[in-house]
Symmetry: C2
Subunit: 181 residues, 2 copies
């Protein structure tokens, strides 16, 4: 039985499939609950998905946490990106005079309602003026610590090395290898 990755984001899917070739995309729209704990958001989505699907189901959340907003918007980033755009998000950091940020990815894997597992990774960095068009979402304004490039400027291989999504996907891959269903 395939491992289903529930996402409507084709580019996110491809990024994860590069680490986990066995996954298949399931493009269904599951409601997200209003929470700033990514695990709670993921758990609710997985429980909903399990009503319709059997087998291994995966859901992912990527958060961008601004130091100047005490960790917000976090999982609520998509609304802020919609309302302000990358330029507006950058300007917000400029106005606050605080550029530090943390990008965080959490995967949830469900093998049944009582068997939900989480795999997390995070990456410190800075909010910068938008640069590059190789990434999606807020990639152009996030420059990981130790890199001279934003996610928007990195080719996919470099991003895999640097990104919290790549790291978290490798943890999930190892778990799946060691815990065959």
């Amino acid at each position: 039985m395939p491992v289903l990755f529930i996402t409507g984001n084709k580019r996110k899917f491809e990024e994860v499939k590069a680490v986990l070739p066995e996954i298949e995309q399931l493009d269904v729209d599951l409601p997200e609950i209003q929470e700033i704990d990514a695990k709670a958001v993921i758990r609710a989505k997985l429980l909903e998905a399990l009503k319709h699907r059997q087998g291994d189901v995966i859901v992912e959340d990527s958060s961008l946490c601004f130091d100047c907003l005490n960790g917000l918007p976090g999982p609520l980033i998509k609304w802020f990106l919609k309302a302000l755009g990358n330029d507006g998000l950058y300007l917000l950091a400029v106005k606050c005079g605080v550029f530090g940020a943390e990008a965080r990815t959490t995967f949830g894997l469900a093998r049944g309602p009582e068997r939900i597992y989480y795999f997390e990774a995070s990456c410190r960095g800075e909010i910068v003026r938008p640069r590059g068009d190789k990434d999606f979402g807020w990639g152009p304004i996030f420059q990981p610590a130790g890199s001279a490039l934003t996610y928007g400027e990195m080719d996919r291989e470099a991003k895999h090395r640097f990104s919290m999504r790549g790291q978290a996907a490798r943890k999930l891959r190892d778990f799946l290898k060691e815990n065959i269903r």
Copy 2:
């Protein structure tokens, strides 16, 4: 059959009961979906509530929309209040140099899954340094246009006159009078 107002907030309940004496509080915790359209949040809550209750059910959402954030946090305000507090929210407006804001309340009334009605009111104002302890939530930082007091400084009668929650509750009251179940 009583009209049930679903809320965990005792002070919000009392404020609405002053306009709608027939309501009863139902303190159940319904998940909120992640949306910046208040009506979508309310609708999902009402549909959930109707699984367990018959009769008229009411849900309320109050949003605080910062001009400097292009209308956000809106219905997501509770997470921002939690993360930053009223002092931090005020400081955010200071840093942006833009103090305009809009407070908005939406009531949803459900008489069945196909019969959901909305009642809205909004109030322009300014984000100010926190003042007063007569209100809850973000009341101390919101000063309505035309008032020298924040919600936090108003006695309940003055707040009813000024507040978007009072106005929206009166619309709901009129509807209930004119449309007896």
